[in-house]
């Protein structure tokens, strides 16, 4: 298992450093864009009579976002310019993100158990699970147990499909 936690145990190979610098450059660029959004949003707020209006905090944070994001992007400017060697598994991420959105949309229609089983199955298969049939069985069992514990036992009402679970 790869160790993705922050902390000093990560092995620092040049490749890892390169990928990290590119990601931090991308994060910097996104922060600068977010800074613009935050500042525009702050500018449209009506001022109040208070010493510190509602726009003060967003303005400060917008400026900080821009500065810190700019610094991150500046630090890794050399890496951003070099052509990207795309991570091979980016399509898996895309599939999972789409699955999560579909899950969110179907949850009120199909109920927790069916959607949970689907989410578990897709995620497990994307992560390299063998035996699709067995994965469906595991997912179904987990979803049913969660539904029984949370909905029936604890009383936290989960969305139920037309079939009541």
């Amino acid at each position: 298992m790869t160790d993705l936690e922050e902390g000093p145990v990560r092995p620092e190979t040049p490749e890892v450093e390169h990928a990290e610098a590119r990601a931090s450059g991308l994060l910097g660029v996104i922060m600068v864009i977010a800074a613009v959004v935050v500042l525009v949003d702050a500018a449209r707020l009506r001022d109040s009579d208070d010493a510190l209006g509602p726009a003060a905090a967003p303005t400060l944070l917008g400026v900080l976002l821009g500065l810190v994001g700019g610094a991150l992007a500046f630090q890794s400017r050399h890496f951003l310019r070099t052509p990207k060697a795309r991570p091979a598994h980016l399509w898996r991420l895309a599939v999972l993100v789409v699955t999560l959105v579909v899950y969110a949309l179907l949850l009120p229609l199909m109920g927790f158990v069916v959607c949970g089983t689907g989410l578990f199955t897709v995620a497990a298969l994307l992560l390299g699970a063998p035996h699709p049939a067995r994965v469906v069985a595991y997912g179904w069992t987990l979803a049913v147990v969660v539904f029984l514990v949370f909905d029936v036992l604890i009383g936290l009402s989960l969305p139920a499909g037309p079939w009541g679970f």
Partner: protein, 497 residues
């Protein structure tokens, strides 16, 4: 003292004891899973406690908290995947011991060390908390603003590889905290006209997204490799020699962990590394360090648990969370209708003392539960990675849905998960973001309150000796990287000549 005894009377009823037991068990079970640290454990399991009455919920929650802490150390030792940076130091020697076939002894010293440190830490908490609360009652908004500034700066500086990356995380979190209706003027900020964003983004959703989805996404992109679980040989017992080497390390770790953890500064991780280097310096077996020295497990593990109790001091008495876990605990309190702060002890004293009493009980339960069951926990580690992360995803969505209750919350969860992935790949720690998310709105509120009281006079922020001292601390913390660099260049130039 009488309050504490009443707390014990509340916590020791059969019903509450059962909740403590359930909390400790599921906390350990989830905390053991690789990649799931205490902050994520408490966030994922928070919905379990939603429907209980406040006392039972708090008691169960205390169990989950300590159980998650303990479970995390098992994973660090047997799998070398510390779920949180506070258990990185434990993994350093612990995993080496496990590889050398001494995993059982490593787990035993971790369990006993956690118990000793947790118990001493909880005693210190019971003694210190009312005292600090008495002082904090006199704090006005300017003191709060200064305290929060200290927390901001230290959290960014200490919880990350650099002030810039820690700061980036903090600012991102604080910006997420802006989303929603501004309490003073009733205007929506950063909601983009979406009604589901008017209430703001729930902390549980942010924690689950940044930690759980970020981790799952990272596994997807990287492709999951093989994990190496060290087999467990022999009973988890300490030999006389191991015990003789462990106990001073437990006590030293506790002595470092509790005071540093209880400072209103971000530092739950710092004492674990301090303890590691202290043990290395003091040890008679220095050559064993790096190859599995038992002191190197005993000290940091004790420091970690003592700091976990210490973090509760600023959290309960001032309402100031200084770690990601503490930020989730604060949310949990609010969802039970309690507001941590100096008034907590006077207004909801019974509940707080029941909570503190259940921390003692949780510690005992953990020791009773864990040493005999350590094999069962270790077996959880053999669940394949795809099963764990797919299951975590199901729980993450459940947690987000329980916290928010709408479909939009699940979309927010996904988007923030992608942000978590990017931060992780960029080497930006996610813990400061969680602290920023909680503290920034509080800081804004206190700042506005101070300025309203002083009628717009900014000098109110440095009107008392305490605030002046705290702002000096902020300046020093900000300048320290610069100073360090200056000293280093001077050393380098003097070496050249």
């Amino acid at each position: 003292m009488g309050d504490l005894l009443n707390g014990f009377a509340d916590a020791l009823t059969p019903g509450n004891l059962l909740w403590a037991f359930v909390g400790v068990t599921i906390g350990t079970a989830v905390g053991v899973l690789p990649g799931i640290g205490p902050a994520l454990t408490v966030a994922l399991l928070l919905p379990v406690t939603f429907r209980l009455e406040p006392a039972a919920a708090l008691i169960m929650f205390a169990g989950i908290y300590y159980g998650g802490m303990y479970g995390g150390s098992t994973t660090s030792i047997l799998l070398n995947t510390p779920g949180e940076s506070a258990s990185v130091a434990t993994a350093l020697e612990g995993n080496k011991m496990a590889r050398a076939g001494r995993g059982a002894a490593a787990l035993a010293t971790a369990a006993l060390g956690s118990f000793v440190a947790g118990t001493i830490g909880t005693i210190a908490l019971s003694a210190a908390a009312p005292f600090v609360a008495d002082i904090a009652v006199n704090f006005g908004p300017p003191e709060y603003v200064a305290l929060m500034a200290v927390a901001f700066v230290t959290v960014s500086a200490l919880l990350g590889p650099s002030l810039l990356k820690g700061g980036a995380s903090l600012v991102i979190g604080a910006t997420i905290g802006l989303v929603g209706i501004d309490t003073q003027t009733g205007q929506a900020r950063l909601a983009f006209g979406l009604p589901s964003l008017f209430d703001g983004i729930d902390v549980v959703i942010v924690v689950v997204a940044l930690f759980a989805l970020g981790e799952t996404f990272a596994h997807l992109v990287a492709g999951t490799g093989d994990s190496r679980v060290e087999p467990l040989r022999g009973a988890p017992m300490l030999s006389r020699e191991d015990f003789r080497r462990s106990w001073p390390a437990w006590l030293r770790g506790t002595a470092l962990g509790f005071p540093i953890g209880s400072l209103p500064a971000g530092g739950a991780d710092v004492p674990t590394f301090l303890s590691y280097s202290l043990e290395k310096r003091l040890s008679k077996h220095r050559s064993q360090f790096g190859h599995g020295a038992i002191e190197g497990v005993a000290g940091p593990e004790a420091a970690n648990n003592a700091a976990a109790a210490g973090v509760l001091v600023p959290l309960l008495t001032i309402g100031l969370p200084t770690s990601a876990t503490a930020a989730v605990i604060l949310t949990a309190f609010q969802s039970y209708g309690l507001q941590p702060g100096p008034q907590l002890f006077s207004e909801s004293g019974e509940l707080v003392w029941a909570l503190i009493a259940s921390l003692y009980i949780g510690n005992v339960l953990l020791l009773v539960l864990n040493l005999p069951l350590v094999r069962a926990w270790a077996r959880l580690l053999t669940i394949p990675a795809y099963g764990i992360y797919a299951g975590v995803l199901v729980f993450a969505c459940l947690g987000a849905f329980a916290a928010g209750g709408t479909i939009a919350d699940l979309i927010v969860l996904t988007v923030l998960g992608l942000l978590g992935l990017l931060m992780r790949s960029a080497g930006v720690p996610v813990a400061p973001a969680v602290v920023g998310l909680i503290l920034a709105p509080l800081a804004e509120q206190q700042l506005r309150r101070s300025l309203a009281l002083s009628e717009g006079d900014w000098s109110t922020l440095v009107s008392s000796p305490l605030t002046v001292v705290l702002w000096i601390v902020v300046l020093l913390a900000l300048l320290s990287p610069l100073l360090r660099r200056l000293i280093q260049t001077r050393k380098a130039t003097s070496l050249k000549h």
